[in-house]
């Protein structure tokens, strides 16, 4: 067998094993006591910490993302998701150069985004553990609210990775917890700070209805 053919076969084999792990029956799922649901609608609130210090300097405190998400399970443990996240915050730019008096310029940034991806979920008793990854499209808009400066708008593509822990509270109602890392690099031609990007880590909680 040629080298390339052997490598291709190895890839297919690994993919098969992964599929078996995520959707296969016992013994891998020996401790599973309930079936994962077919679909879910989630609403979460949380806190996001931007990784870039420049972002944190301008917009102090945590951002509060609000996310609406829909999940659909394709196979027993494999699901795809789509979500919309709303993120906005007030900040300020400070100018200080004596003898001129200090000036503060209020800012408002909005970072709504749409995300799509897939992941794996493992139910265990009343718990559901999940991990996933996907792509994001973020539309940004930043205003100097008191100054006559053109509003900066544009969009950025990024990548997200998330982990979740859900707990069934009552029948179809679940309490959900999410941890997310979003990688949102800026277009180099637009960035102001040399290493600036909008990446961040967020923790959020909310409720889900699973069907």
């Amino acid at each position: 067998m040629k080298k390339a053919t052997r490598a291709r076969a190895r890839h297919w084999l690994m993919a098969g094993v992964l599929l078996a792990i995520t959707s296969g029956p016992a013994p891998l799922r020996a401790q599973t006591t309930s079936k994962p649901p077919r679909a879910a609608v989630l609403v979460t609130f949380g806190a996001m910490r931007p990784l870039e210090s420049a972002v944190r300097g301008l917009y102090r405190g945590a951002f509060v993302p609000v996310t609406i998400e829909g999940d659909f399970h394709l196979l027993r443990n494999l699901f795809v998701f789509g979500s919309a996240r709303f993120l906005g915050r007030n900040g300020e730019v400070v100018f200080n150069m004596p003898p001129a008096p200090e000036e503060r310029f209020p800012l408002r940034v909005s970072l709504p985004s749409v995300r799509m991806g897939g992941g794996v979920a493992f139910p265990w008793q009343k718990w559901l553990f999940s991990a996933g990854a996907g792509l994001s499209y973020t539309r940004y808009e930043e205003k100097w609210t008191t100054e006559d400066i053109p509003v900066a708008t544009g969009h950025i593509y990024g990548v997200i990775a998330q982990g979740g822990v859900d707990y069934r509270v009552y029948k179809r109602l679940w309490a959900v917890g999410r941890f997310e890392y979003s990688y949102t690099p800026m277009d180099e031609t637009r960035q102001v700070f040399p290493t600036f990007d909008l990446s961040g880590i967020s923790v959020s909680g909310g409720v889900a209805v699973r069907f």
């Binding site: 000036e103 400066i149 102001v192």
Partner: protein, 547 residues
């Protein structure tokens, strides 16, 4: 261990070959002379540009000295260059100027010549001085050492001519005192000065007649009470001594800031030692400087004015090079240099004045045109052309100063150029007078006639960039020393083009000695001046400009 005889022979042969290669390869300490085309941006590592030394900027090219060892590296970069001379050791290079390429190529009979651009060549021979072997109809500039201009491979070439409209923008309010000064320019006095300079028969630097004409100019300046110096220097392989004649009106507010109006007083012809009247080249420019000095001597200005007659220009710009290099070394703050060279011959009527600037000096040309338009209307053709380096403005360009050349025609049209027939009867005095008036207006506007209200001094500009995620703006804080007297406040003026087109930035009178210009674009350079306003509402002249 032992070595067999054949192995020894092989080793010896290899070593011998290496020795031959090393002895014939260019020594790494050799310096080559290169011509780089100005071109579209190319990223060149600083390790490459570091050892390179620019010795001349032209409109479309740089002349650069570089170690020979750099050549292989340069060839790997996307640079358009040629080696003009493989070793510069002990050689004297001259730029040569002539309207026809054949004139420049004809120099091959006397030495080595390379045509660099239209009308400009590079010449060198086995002698250190070439004035006396190069034909009289070719003018010279000796290249010597690094120039202070930034060696940039990012500068696209530019040689363009722009005819400025006569109704140019007024950059400063009309000043009746300048109009009064302009009104005093006398054709008769200009004629008198040209005739007196011509009467020396020759002013060829190295002759006693040249020194005598320098003494005449010196005495003229002294006669009008100007502080005058003769700045002696030696030039050429023969170590001739001559002097620049420098008269000064000290500035009243910022004496460190200097405006120079100059012309070379030496002359040349194909019979230079006996008959070089040089009425147009350059008794005309010298007479204009003398006339301007005579008039301005009766006034006071914010900035210092220097009137300079340069010598040994015809040998390769030695006098102006001597002054400009020394000025740079002592940190002289030269605002602008107005050099007049051949302003008396009119090949057609009405004649227009060709005003030659480089990119850095474009503002000075604009200012000259604006001043002329306001006080002494004159047809002017302003050209940005860094290759016109055959007169005394060029050494100032080399030292990074703003300078312009006022000349009747580029290329030259005077049929008596560098001939014994360049005499006063061939001149158009009306044209020379008009140029003198325009130059006086420009000098006076640059130096600013003293006003009853003193402008602020000690202006400083600092900036801070304020940034949001997607937008950045610049905050400029200007501070200054309060003006003396009963001052009600200050006005701050801003412009995007240095020294011209100031627009008031403040809405209300500024009461404190500082001002914040808010939220400006970060990619734009802003220039500021400040004025003081007294209790009667009288406004001072502009302060020194800061950026």
């Amino acid at each position: 261990m032992t070595t067999s005889r054949p192995s020894c022979l092989k080793l010896g042969a290899v070593l011998a070959a290496l020795l031959v290669i090393l002895s014939t390869a260019p020594q790494s300490s050799d310096t080559v002379l290169l011509r780089f085309d100005k071109q579209q941006p190319v990223v060149v590592p600083s390790a490459v540009t570091g050892p390179m030394v620019a010795i001349q900027e032209l409109a479309t090219a740089w002349l650069v000295e570089a170690p020979a060892s750099l050549l292989p590296r340069l060839r790997t970069l996307r640079l358009s260059f040629e080696v003009l001379d493989a070793t510069t050791e002990g050689k004297a290079y001259f730029l040569v100027f002539a309207p026809q390429a054949e004139q420049i190529e004809g120099l091959a009979a006397f030495g080595n010549v390379r045509l660099l651009e239209k009308g400009v060549g590079l010449f060198w021979s086995n002698t250190d001085e070439v004035r006396e072997i190069v034909p009289a109809d070719i003018s010279l500039k000796r290249l010597s050492g690094p120039i202070s201009a930034r060696l940039s491979f990012l500068t696209p070439g530019r040689a363009r001519a722009v005819e400025r409209p006569l109704r140019a923008q007024a950059y400063a309010p009309f000043d009746p005192r300048i109009a009064e000064m302009v009104g005093q320019v006398s054709s008769a006095r200009i004629l008198d000065s040209v005739a007196n300079l011509q009467s020396y028969q020759t002013r060829y630097a190295s002759t006693s007649n040249c020194e005598a004409s320098g003494t005449y100019i010196y005495d003229f300046f002294r006669q009008y009470g100007l502080q005058t110096d003769a700045d002696y220097f030696t030039f050429s392989a023969s170590n001739y001594t001559t002097s620049n004649i420098i008269a000064t009106i000290p500035g009243q507010v910022s004496p460190d800031r200097v405006v120079i109006v100059c012309a070379h007083y030496d002359s040349y012809s194909n019979q230079a030692k006996t008959a070089a009247p040089g009425a147009d080249d350059n008794a005309s420019g010298t007479a204009a400087v003398m006339e301007i000095a005579r008039i301005l001597a009766g006034y006071q200005f914010d900035f210092t004015i220097k009137f300079i007659g340069f010598s040994a220009e015809e040998w390769g710009l030695y006098g102006s090079k001597h002054y400009a290099q020394a000025a740079r070394q002592r940190g002289e703050d030269i605002l602008g240099v107005i050099n007049m060279d051949m302003i008396g011959y009119a090949d057609r009527l009405p004649e227009d004045l060709d005003l030659i600037v480089n990119d850095r000096s474009d503002w000075l040309g604009n200012k000259y045109v604006a001043s002329a338009t306001m006080y002494a209307p004159l047809a002017i053709l302003q050209a940005i052309n860094a290759s016109v380096t055959g007169s005394d403005h060029s050494p100032f360009w080399d030292q990074g100063y703003s300078a312009l050349l006022g000349i009747e025609d580029i290329p030259l049209k005077n049929p008596y150029y560098h001939k014994p027939t360049d005499t006063v009867d061939t001149l158009n005095l009306d044209f020379a007078t008009a140029v003198t008036r325009a130059s006086l207006a420009a000098v006076a506007e640059l130096a600013q006639p003293s006003s009853p209200v003193a402008p602020p001094t000690g202006i400083q500009a600092r900036s801070q960039t304020v940034r949001s995620l997607f937008t950045s703006r610049k905050m400029v804080v200007l501070t200054w020393n309060p003006s003396p007297g009963n001052i009600a406040g200050y006005h701050v003026y801003r412009t995007l083009t240095s020294h011209t087109g100031y627009q008031r930035a403040n809405a209300a009178l500024v009461r404190q000695p500082y001002y914040v210009d808010r939220l400006l674009r970060t990619d734009v350079t802003y220039y500021y001046v400040v004025t003081a306003v007294d209790a009667q509402g009288r406004e001072s002249n502009y302060s020194v400009e800061v950026r």
